[in-house]
């Protein structure tokens, strides 16, 4: 059972710009109940405010062709 109310869930769907039938919303709402606990797992670890994400930006990737051409 999702913690988000069905009304709030419908608001999320509207905000995403999706045109779903009431049946589709009900069906996906069931799945949302399985997804919500995942948010707790990725958020609540008291991590350092400055902890970086796993992905890094590599500016040299976009200049490698230019570098090769000299």
């Amino acid at each position: 059972m999702a913690k988000t109310s069905l009304e709030d869930f419908k608001a999320l769907v509207r905000r995403a710009g999706l045109a779903l039938t009431p049946e589709q919303i009900d069906e996906i709402y069931v799945g949302w109940g399985h997804v919500e606990p995942m948010f707790e797992r990725i958020r609540s670890y008291g991590r350092d405010r400055a902890a970086e994400p796993a992905h890094v930006f590599r500016p040299d990737f976009f200049t490698q062709d230019a570098a090769k051409e000299g």
């Binding site: 999706l18 996906i28 797992r41 990725i42 970086e52």
Partner: protein, 521 residues
């Protein structure tokens, strides 16, 4: 019984000119013709292209200029790999009719190695939603029992390799899509280190988790394919710019002194596996111990932790790709893809970044807990394949996958057949190594596979001589899998019996029954 060669065996036969690439391709195409109506492993069969490739390989072999051990080997590609001039559908209505103008980098590399391309293979829609029954093509079926699931998303590759339609093929793996079908179809499947194999030209599911990799009958065959899939690709921002090692170099070397860590709590507590899977893991540990490895227990974060980060990253990255169609053509997707992928539309930007930060923590925790350990071992899948019509829509949310940790960490991991369950379907172990340690991973997996001796058994329907299966298919006869298996068992006896009946007799010998006019006529 028809023996289906491994890639290594076929390479030796080709080199010795005991079989020609054309004969080998014809056998595989006959098996495709015989079995595809049952297994639905292929979406597109490129028979003409295959014969052209095979003839070219044959010419090179006859001229003494083969390109290597893959020259003349029949393969096929998951239908998210772009193939120049050949439809690439992602098993979706949305891409029906799309014909790429370029090959994916890995498709090109395997073609340059001399492989013979038989076609494009079924996948879960866009490598995410399946098994689906509301798409333009049916889902692939498991050759060990076509009423059962292949797992996915590289479902067609798993089915086609197990059934001997191809000797090897390509897959992709974002949460376990190579290793799942390898586990349930009883073959070997390798998800390499993130960045080892170029992703260019492969339709993405989630950029930062997508891996390309090989699937084949044996560990050695995976090594042979990987040799021609790995390499730096400047067009792929995740590609690793480092030398490609010889992936077969350590096969057969002893594993004495290697430290193998078993993540027992994953398969005994977090997601308890079936007795057959447990037996396979325990058996593998006993084999490696006998071979001189040291077995240690490793404790890592719960499977649920990796699953949470994996799912949030997949659906947010994936939804960003699909957003335009999701908003305008929602119902053109299959129900499973659209209902799962839409979760990404409902998450916040913070959810995505928190998942990336959690990913960094999980990578660090995994590395710290495995210092001094060479290899990790756990299950490939929780049990043998369920019926294909019994897979719940939210299965991948309700139960954590054993494969997710190595998408999150990017470590190489492979699944290898470790036995059979009560229903006669295969089960698998999963073996993982540190980043870019594929030669060691393959060495340890090969040592197990050789000792376990499980590679002589194929699905029964694959043992029907391909020409007989093709004849039945040409006659419009689609026999149930059980009947096909029965044919495989008796066909050699029938042939022998028929040969004996032809035995030497006089030219004029009459048959037992003669034509006779009724009396009085």
């Amino acid at each position: 019984m028809t023996h289906i060669p491994t890639i290594a065996e076929a390479a030796a036969l080709l080199a010795a000119r005991k079989i020609s690439p054309v004969e080998l391709a014809s056998q595989c195409l006959d098996r495709v013709a015989a079995l595809n109506d049952t297994l639905h492993a292929f979406i597109t069969v490129t028979a003409e292209r295959a014969m052209d490739d095979a003839k070219a390989a044959e010419a090179r072999l006859m001229a003494g200029t083969p390109r290597g051990r893959l020259d003349g080997i029949p393969i096929a590609h998951k239908d998210i790999y772009a193939t120049r001039g050949i439809a690439t559908t992602a098993h979706s209505k949305l891409l029906k009719g799309w014909v790429p103008t370029e090959d994916a980098t890995t498709v090109r590399m395997l073609a340059e190695a001399g492989t013979v391309m038989l076609g494009k293979l079924a996948t879960h829609e866009f490598a995410f939603g399946g098994p689906s029954f509301d798409l333009p093509w049916p889902p692939a079926r498991n050759p060990w029992n076509p009423d059962h699931f292949t797992s996915g998303s590289s479902s067609g590759t798993g089915a086609a390799v197990a059934a001997g339609m191809i000797l090897g093929g390509t897959g992709s793996d974002t949460g376990g899509s190579i290793r799942g079908p390898a586990s349930l179809c009883g073959i070997a499947g390798l998800k390499p280190t993130y960045g080892l194999c170029p992703r260019t030209g492969i339709l993405p599911l989630a950029f930062s988790l997508d891996h390309a990799g090989p699937m084949a009958w044996t560990v050695e065959d995976c090594a042979l394919l990987l040799q021609h899939m790995a390499g730096f690709d400047p067009a792929d921002p995740g590609s690793a710019d480092r030398p490609v090692p010889d992936f077969t170099a350590q096969l057969g070397q002893d594993i004495k002194g290697k430290r193998i860590g078993v993540v027992r709590h994953w398969h005994e507590t977090d997601a308890k596996v079936s007795p057959a899977v447990q037996k396979g893991i325990d058996g593998a540990l006993a084999i490696w111990k006998d071979q001189g490895a040291e077995i240690v227990e490793v404790v890592l974060p719960s499977l649920f932790e990796y699953q949470a980060a994996n799912f949030v990253i997949i659906t947010t990255e994936g939804y960003s790709l699909h957003e335009p169609w999701m908003r305008t053509r929602f119902n053109d997707y299959g129900e499973l893809l659209r209902d799962r992928m839409v979760m990404g539309a409902l998450m916040s930007s913070s959810d995505y970044v928190q998942a990336l930060r959690r990913r960094a923590e999980l990578c660090a925790l995994t590395a710290a807990a495995t210092k001094g350990v060479d290899i990790l071992v756990t299950a490939g899948a929780p049990a043998e394949a369920p019926r294909i019509d019994s897979v719940p829509k939210w299965a991948n949310l309700q139960n954590p996958g054993f494969t997710n940790p190595f998408n999150i960490t990017g470590w190489p991991a492979m699944c290898v057949c470790s036995g059979y369950g009560e229903g006669g379907m295969p089960v698998a172990i999963q073996i993982a190594a540190k980043p870019f340690q594929e030669p060691l991973l393959l060495q340890v997996a090969h040592a197990f596979e050789q000792a376990a001796g499980l590679r002589n058994r194929r699905p029964e329907l694959a043992t029907v001589p391909p020409q007989i299966g093709k004849t039945l298919a040409d006659a419009g006869l689609t026999l149930p899998a059980s009947d096909m298996a029965g044919l495989g068992a008796v066909v050699e006896e029938l042939r022998a019996g028929a040969a004996a009946l032809r035995g030497p007799r006089s030219y004029a010998n009459e048959p037992a029954a003669t034509f006779q006019l009724p009396a009085g006529t």
